[in-house]
């Protein structure tokens, strides 16, 4: 290693990890840390499959974040065009190009005449000089097939590929060689070259791009990786706003990470009660129902409640424009505008995102991460399997839920049920219901010329929940739930429920009147009796008085009589004295 290399270069063999991070979301996970350091990676793919972009992103990440300057050898596109393309991803190549990134224009001139054998040692000599000058650690040979195609014979091609490979290994550069390959043109020179290079390199990655039912699908697959385990499956990826984003199938380490017992409000008081306090924090909630059963409203109620708690929330609508959603919800008392204005709530109109289910998922992930969302509403997820996505939609839904759980996000998804299959049990769209923690089903009940909305909780893991159907009522005051009546085996809703309620109220009122009347009557009787009692008591007293008077009158008369007799005896001077008087 030359003494001209700056310190990062000399540190490399001893301390740096054996892999070089690419900075591509998902790709570093698949490969367990990036591309093999100091080795060569073959990147193959058809036209427009994203090879140049992946390779360039690898260099930009190295130069920007890893202190590893890089060289891009451009056989196909001019440096000017590469820089222009990179600028659309927000990579500031202009600043990097001054010191840490060198783009070498190596397009063969169109008027170039090839006469006889030649080799690439001129280029490698020039690169050697440049590597020493800037201390480059990473290098990309973009569209090597273009220059190799100029060589007169297959043996010369092999010789130059070997030369390049040896050169790369000797300099311990982490290199990417991109070649065009569709995989099915094995007979062509490029096909042969591709097959032979696959054996030579330490890591091979294949990019593919296909269109299924009018929807573009991009996939990435690591074909080989010497000395390392890797995810062998095809991983969908997309070209996002800031470069490549690879969808990682699973992040098993994180799935069980955050389990919370905390409850968060569903935004509907009665529903919280039915759910024994609300949804679990970090749970995935599925709201299914036909068109117009207030799925959006119910999910928006959750979003509003989250914002009221001050939690950053993202609402992804596949149905209509954000402003429309906000306006429509305001009519049922769900006011999201203040939260949108304050930045707490991010409304995304997903109709503006075109592409496969993968595209949606990755975009949603990126946006949610950028927003720092704790609560996420997707309305509805069923859109995913309506656009030629049947196969991938399921795995996308799985990953959505896995990801939300890993992030501790509370996720509310709505899903449109098929009007044809009327039985709720047969509708488990996307089988999200299998993975969802809580499944709320909304339904219409057509009865007595009315359609009324019914809500039932199909399942809710880890929660004692009500098994009754409730009537969902929307008014300008918001969403409320009301008890339904079961009469004669039928659930009554709407007017029938109201009639039933009125009837019960009438019966109740009548009963109350009767009771009151009875009370009054008894009061009267009681009063009457009391009055009678009083009269009798008075009479009794009168009788007693009379009786006492009588007694005393008798007594006094008796006394009078005896006194009178004595007086008469005295007056008459009677001799026949009484024994009593004689003694006195």
């Amino acid at each position: 290693m030359s003494a001209n290399h700056p310190s990062p270069g000399r540190r490399s063999s001893a301390k740096l990890p054996s892999k070089a991070l690419t900075g591509i979301i998902g790709f570093d996970e698949i490969t367990g840390g990036g591309l093999p350091r100091g080795r060569t990676t073959l990147l193959a793919g058809g036209p427009g499959s994203g090879k140049t972009l992946l390779a360039l992103q690898f260099l930009v990440h190295g130069a920007q974040d890893c202190q590893e300057p890089g060289i891009f050898v451009a056989f196909e596109e001019t440096a000017k065009r590469i820089v222009a393309n990179a600028d659309s991803f927000g990579w500031r190549l202009a600043a990097l190009r001054r010191k840490k990134l060198f783009i070498m224009d190596a397009q063969p001139m169109p008027e170039l005449v090839q006469a006889g054998d030649f080799d690439l040692s001129g280029m490698l000599a020039a690169l050697d000089a440049k590597i020493k000058e800037m201390g480059a650690r990473r290098i990309v040979f973009d569209a090597l097939d273009i220059v190799l195609a100029l060589l007169p014979e297959p043996a010369a091609i092999r010789r130059e590929v070997y030369r390049l490979h040896e050169w790369l290994l000797a300099r311990e550069l982490t290199g990417i060689i991109t070649v065009k390959a569709d995989g099915n043109d094995a007979g062509a020179v490029i096909g042969q070259l591709f097959g032979f290079m696959q054996f030579m390199v330490d890591c091979a990655v294949i990019l593919s791009h296909c269109v299924l039912l009018g929807v573009s699908h991009r996939n990435l697959r690591v074909l080989k990786y010497r000395g390392s385990s890797f995810d062998e499956n095809e991983s969908p990826f997309l070209i996002g706003n800031s470069g490549l984003e690879v969808a990682v199938a699973r992040t098993p380490g994180r799935v069980d990470a955050k389990v919370s017992k905390e409850r968060v409000s569903s935004g509907v008081k009665r529903l919280d009660t039915m759910l024994d306090g609300g949804y679990y924090r970090g749970a995935s909630v599925l709201i299914t129902g036909f068109s117009g059963t207030a799925k959006t409203t119910l999910s928006a109620a959750f979003a509003e409640a989250a914002c009221r708690r001050g939690e950053r929330t993202m609402f992804v609508s596949f149905d209509s424009d954000c402003t429309e959603v906000v306006r429509n919800l305001a009519s049922v008392g769900i006011r999201l505008k203040p939260y949108v204005n304050s930045g707490c709530l991010r409304m995304i109109s997903a109709r503006s995102i075109a592409g496969s289910a993968e595209t949606y998922l990755v975009r949603i992930k990126t946006l949610a991460q950028a927003h720092g969302a704790r609560c996420l509403v997707i309305d509805p997820v069923s859109t995913w399997y309506k656009s030629g996505n049947d196969l991938s939609a399921q795995s996308v839904a799985d990953r959505l839920i896995d990801w939300a759980k890993g992030e501790g996000l509370t996720l509310v998804c709505t899903s449109l049920s098929d009007e044809m299959s009327n039985r709720m049990e047969s509708n488990s769209p996307l089988q999200v219901s299998m993975l969802a923690d809580t499944w709320i089903h909304l339904n219409y009940l057509v009865q007595a010329g009315e359609r009324n909305r019914g809500l039932s909780i199909v399942k809710s893991r880890g929660t004692a929940h009500s098994n009754q159907v409730r009537e969902l009522i929307l008014s300008d005051a918001g969403v409320t739930l009301s008890d339904t009546y079961t009469a004669g085996g039928e659930v009554l809703m709407g007017t029938l429920r109201w009639e039933k309620e009125s009837a019960e109220r009438a019966v109740h009122e009548a009963a109350e009147v009767v009771t009151k009347l009875k009370g009054v009557k008894l009061d009267a009787e009681e009063a009457e009796l009391a009055a009678r009692l009083k009269a009798l008591q008075v009479e009794l007293v009168a009788k007693q008085v009379e009786k006492a008077l009588l007694a005393s009158a008798t007594q006094s008369r008796k006394g009078e009589l005896s006194r009178g007799r004595t007086r008469m005896q005295e007056l008459r001077g009677a001799d026949a004295a009484k024994p009593g008087r004689k003694s006195s």
Partner: protein, 96 residues
């Protein structure tokens, strides 16, 4: 009239690589035969002057550049296909 025209060549070689040596041999033979006393050949070894190769945009060796007369021409390879080389250099008329 063509007698007066001077041919200026620049040949980029990779040290003493076989194909570079072949190119030089083929070029001098061609010049001696068809352009006696009216050619100049400048030889640049990319290993000794890599910065120059980089600046000139030379990535394959050997590469022959005809600087004069205009239009300039670039030919890569050992120059073993004489017919083709003569054609490319605008010397068809001189060909046998």
């Amino acid at each position: 009239m063509s007698q007066a025209v001077m041919f200026k060549f620049r040949l980029y070689v990779a040290a003493d690589a076989l194909n570079s040596a072949q190119a030089l041999g083929n070029l001098t033979a061609l010049c001696r035969r068809h352009l006696p006393d009216r050619h100049e050949i400048e030889i640049i070894d990319v290993f000794r002057e890599p910065k120059r190769a980089l600046a000139d945009g030379i990535f394959m060796t050997p590469t022959l550049v005809k600087l004069a007369p205009v239009p300039s021409r670039t030919i890569v390879g050992t120059l073993s296909q004489t017919q083709l080389v003569m054609q490319a250099l605008g010397l068809e008329a001189l060909a046998p």
